[in-house]
């Protein structure tokens, strides 16, 4: 029966607490300047939250940049590869060794 007793203790305590005068806030007015300050902050925060030009154009600009990069690579890939092949071919040619001779010998 402990449970019943304890529940009753809480019930009686809370019943007593309910009889205490409660600040309902019904006749409370906002402190002087409160509503003006809050309204100003709220509306200015909304304005600040609006996306800036940078944010608005950042993603499209990134897309355009990616396209330009892809086009550049596609256009220039063949000439670059050809030039590279020429370099490799030049490297594979025999190297002329010039005997400078050992003068001291």
């Amino acid at each position: 029966m402990k449970r019943k007793h304890t529940t009753t203790a809480w019930d009686r305590l809370v019943a007593a607490a309910r009889s205490a005068p409660l600040d309902t806030g019904e006749n409370v007015e906002a402190p002087f300047g409160f509503s003006t300050r809050v309204a100003a902050r709220a509306l200015s925060a909304e304005r600040a939250a609006a996306p800036s030009l940078f944010v608005r154009f950042a993603w499209p600009a990134l897309g355009v940049a990616a396209l330009i990069t892809a086009a550049t690579v596609t256009t220039n890939l063949k000439p670059v590869m050809d030039a590279n092949d020429e370099d490799v071919a030049a490297l594979s040619e025999p190297v002329v060794v010039t005997d400078t001779g050992d003068v001291s010998a």
Partner: protein
């Protein structure tokens, strides 16, 4: 400017003006809803949080989320839910809950606690304020969500439907939280009684 009665205040018209960035309408909306918000804030005010700061935070949230308001419930009900959930967030943010010790209680509150634990007499009307203080100290021992449910159910005597509207929790969850909270309090009372005996 004194607030109009909530029933006569034209919320749709005022909200339309606020959405059109009319600062005067925003100011009137805050003035109109201040009593409602401050009543919730005072009922659930976490320790060490200034009521004006909390009220301001609630109003700023209200303005930020204004576009989400679909007029499915009256606007003051929608704001009440923001107020309650903001209070719960602040309660959750308090990592440590003060330890409840009989020895730390003022004499009046200790007497009230003894009365409710040991005898069947009603607590006298003169001790109502002490009982209220004591209830809040006991509620402080609970998890924020459990505390909110028990306060709304037992202290403010709100119905399950009203609590559901205020918190957004379903009825089963509210009942589970109330059960859990009462069990924790029961355990606390038992501990206090055993300490009293020793």
């Amino acid at each position: 400017m004194p607030e109009q009665d909530a029933e006569t205040f034209d919320f749709p018209e005022c909200l339309a003006r606020v959405r059109a960035k009319d600062q005067d309408a925003a100011k009137r909306l805050v003035e109109q809803l201040y009593p409602l918000v401050i009543r919730i804030v005072r009922s659930h005010l976490p320790r060490r949080v200034a009521e004006e700061d909390l009220a301001q935070e609630i109003f700023l949230k209200m303005f930020t989320r204004l576009e989400q308001y679909q007029a499915q419930v009256p606007f003051p009900h929608w704001v009440s839910r923001i107020a309650v959930t903001t209070c719960i967030d602040h309660l959750r943010a308090q990592k440590r809950r003060p330890e409840f010790r009989m020895a730390d209680l003022p004499e009046e509150q200790a007497d009230v606690l003894n009365d409710v634990m040991t005898n069947e007499n009603e607590v006298s009307a003169g001790d109502a304020l002490a009982a209220r203080e004591l209830v809040f100290k006991l509620l402080d021992q609970l998890k924020p969500d459990d505390r909110m449910v028990l306060q709304l159910l037992d202290l403010e005597q709100k119905s399950l439907a009203e609590i559901k509207d205020l918190t957004g929790w379903n009825t089963t969850l509210i009942k589970v939280r109330a059960f859990r909270a009462r069990r924790k309090l029961q355990k606390l009372f038992e501990e206090l009684q055993s300490k009293e005996r020793t």
